[in-house]
Amino acid sequence: MPAMNMIQALNSALDVMMAKDPNVLAYGEDAGYFGGVFRVTDGLQKKYGLTRAFDSPISEGGIIATAIGMGVYGLRPVVEVQFADYIYPGYDQIVSEASKIRYRSAGEFFVPITIRTPYGGGIFGGQTHSQSPESLFTHIAGIKTVIPSNPYDAKGLLISAIEDDDPVVFFEPKRIYNGPFSGHHDQPVLPWAKHPASDVPEGHYTVPLGKAAVVRPGNDLTVLAYGTMVHVSLAAAAESGIDAEVIDLRTLVPVDIDTIVESVKKTGRCVIVHEAPRTSGYGAELCALVQENCFWHLEAPIARVTGFDTPYPHAFEWHYFPGPKRVGEAMKRTMETR
């Protein structure tokens, strides 16, 4: 199998689906001829023609609204919002429309669309190229929210998202497009080629939505993470010497409650990690779920390691970013509670 980085894996997912299903098409700002600012749609226009992979106006509302109309018609558009920070002009179309059309039409109309968007920090993108707005979507009934953490999952999850009959918001952790990032910004980043998850089959396969992965089995405590934070958490576990069980959620809604509960019941301790600000972040939901489902098994308070409740700051990137040091400290604190 070829070693793919996450960009190549996502590109391969689009390629596979466009070859398989003539109803799949891809568009977005710079996503046509140029192939996207992160190159995820590279080569698709050349291979599939102008009407299947094309540039759109700078209009996230228009991109998402037209995708909804196409979905209602029966197509499966995969649209790119260039940065998650730009998704808000299209938010009404996601929250008021895509998510509710199946319900309000009693199942007659539905919207099988995928909205891809790079998210997250660690790239010195400042407040408009670093945000993690996933909780603004996990709160909305009727959409699914997916975040891969490696090339293999990225491809399999994107194919699942495209084949899914419900609207999916697919967040791509852009910090790890080219290699898994431990959070040690002062150390060189390994390319994906050195990571086993870069073994990506060329053809069609799926990673199911709604299923988490235990990426590091352990007995001391459970870490719930997704996207870039999976790799930061793995680094923190390795460096702290704590035998953490690291769970990569992969899908935030619907979340894999069984895997979470099984792990926390085993370890009795839980640390939740995300880049997004803390207040009303997705970690709050995870915290509530763990408390509701595992309360009598908990031996320590559930800890959250998150971004701060500030806009994403430029010069303070590494103060804001929840790196392995902060994650490790939270793990130690959680272990110290008796």
Binding site: S56, G69, M70, S96, I101, Y103, E108, K144, D166
Partner: protein, 410 residues
């Protein structure tokens, strides 16, 4: 020293408020029949004058005149008139039902019946409609059962959308009528997307959408116009200028500075401005735009110039912000009366026939309503099973919804 004067903020105001005598003297209405009809292949650049005139076919005497006369068969006209009557009678009955406490909410389309009925006549049955909340006439013209509309309004156990939507937010895939949203304007760019899909697939169906004058101020209007133009989408984008956005006159949306139709110019789209109370003019303009779209010449924006003769909804009282008798003073009259006058003028209709048609519509509505009320009205408890509340959020119910359903004990 710079010569600087204090700036002043202008807030537009309508000419007349409650207590004033309605005054439409400033309206410049071109003669019926005076606007030429261009080729459907004309480039938008050749059509720059259309947004500033008014396409009219029926003149003051009820004659159909000029190049836009669609020359419909008398039987088609009679059917159109009967459909408009049916919408009006249906609206009256449902309005009364709300006042009787049988439902929570209703919206009439009185005075705007031609906008929906004539458009439905000019479109093909399988063209996809993305309506706003005041085009119930589309459903009625396509023969959607009144009883199903009433069941929706009553949110009863036979409500096609299972009691999930505010009354009048109909939906019917079978009738190519997209589920109505209460978030204004969202359907405009969706219709463009649907039309792009139809073009992408080499289909021959087109899309049409409707918003109001007020909603042109939403970003969705701009998205729709931009995408429709850029991708030459086969879509008709209708702006129903009924002069009022709840209590705000059309000047608050910018209508005093430029006509709504003229917004099309900046997008390189044709903008037709049409007498919305003239069945024949609405039909003709829609037919032109549909033929243009079908021939791959792209989208048309149509401003339907009309007047919202009654309240915005059952929650609104227009006498608090506009002269109570303004609708009667509307210089373009009433669409039902005008088509009736035309049919009588050409010897194809009579007052007796009209009264008989009205009685027939009333009887049809009465019978359907009796049946719908027997199924149930809002508040009586004859609603769909509560467990259906949790269905259709997703195609397959995820664990958390199943658990919430179990927690409610249903």
């Amino acid at each position: 020293m710079k010569n600087r004067i204090p700036l002043s903020l202008r807030v537009p105001e309508p000419k007349c408020r409650p207590g004033d005598k309605p005054d439409f003297s400033a309206l410049k209405l071109p003669e019926a029949g005076s606007v030429p009809r261009p080729e459907i292949s004309a480039h938008a650049r050749e059509l720059l004058e259309y947004p500033f005139t008014l396409i009219r076919v029926l003149d003051a005497k009820g004659r159909a005149v000029g190049p836009w006369n669609p020359k419909l068969e008398p039987e088609t006209l009679r059917r159109g008139l009967k459909h408009m009557l049916l919408v009006r009678v249906y609206d009256d009955r449902m309005y009364r039902a709300q006042r009787q406490g049988k439902t929570s909410f209703y919206m009439k389309s009185t005075g705007e019946e031609a906008v929906a009925i004539a458009a439905a006549y000019a479109l093909e049955r399988d063209d996809m409609c993305f309506p706003s909340y005041r085009q119930q006439g589309l459903l009625i013209a396509r023969g959607y059962p009144l009883i199903d509309m009433m069941n929706q309004v009553y949110s009863n156990v036979k409500d096609p959308v299972k009691g999930r939507q505010l009354p009048i937010m109909y939906s019917s895939k079978e009738y190519n009528f997209f589920t109505i949203s209460g978030n204004l304007g969202t359907q405009f760019p969706q219709a463009v997307g649907w039309a792009m899909a139809s073009a992408y697939k080499g289909d021959d169906r087109i899309a049409a959408s409707w918003i109001g004058d007020g909603t042109t101020a939403e970003g969705d209007f701009h998205y729709a116009m931009t995408f429709a133009s850029v991708y030459r989408a086969p879509v008709i984008l209708n702006v129903v200028n009924n002069q009022w956005a709840i209590s705000c006159f059309q000047g608050i949306a910018g209508g005093n500075e430029a006509t709504f139709a003229s917004k099309a110019i900046g997008y390189g789209l044709p903008g037709l401005r049409v007498d919305g109370n003239d069945f024949l003019a609405v039909y003709a303009a829609t037919q032109w735009a549909a033929a243009r779209a079908r021939a791959n010449f792209g989208a048309t924006m149509i401003e339907l110039y009309t007047y919202r003769a009654e309240a915005h909804s059952t929650s609104d009282d227009p006498s608090r912000y506009r002269p109570a008798d303004e609708a009667k003073a509307w210089p373009l009259g009433d669409p039902v009366e005008r088509l009736k006058q035309h049919l009588i003028a050409i010897g194809e209709w009579s007052e007796e026939q009209h009264q008989a048609a009205l009685a027939e519509a009333q009887e049809q509505v009465r019978a359907a309503n009796k049946e719908a009320e027997a199924v149930g009205v809002l508040g009586q408890g004859n609603i769909p099973s509560v467990k259906t509340m949790f269905e259709d959020v997703y195609k397959d119910m995820p664990w958390h919804l199943r658990r919430q359903r179990q927690e409610t004990g249903v």
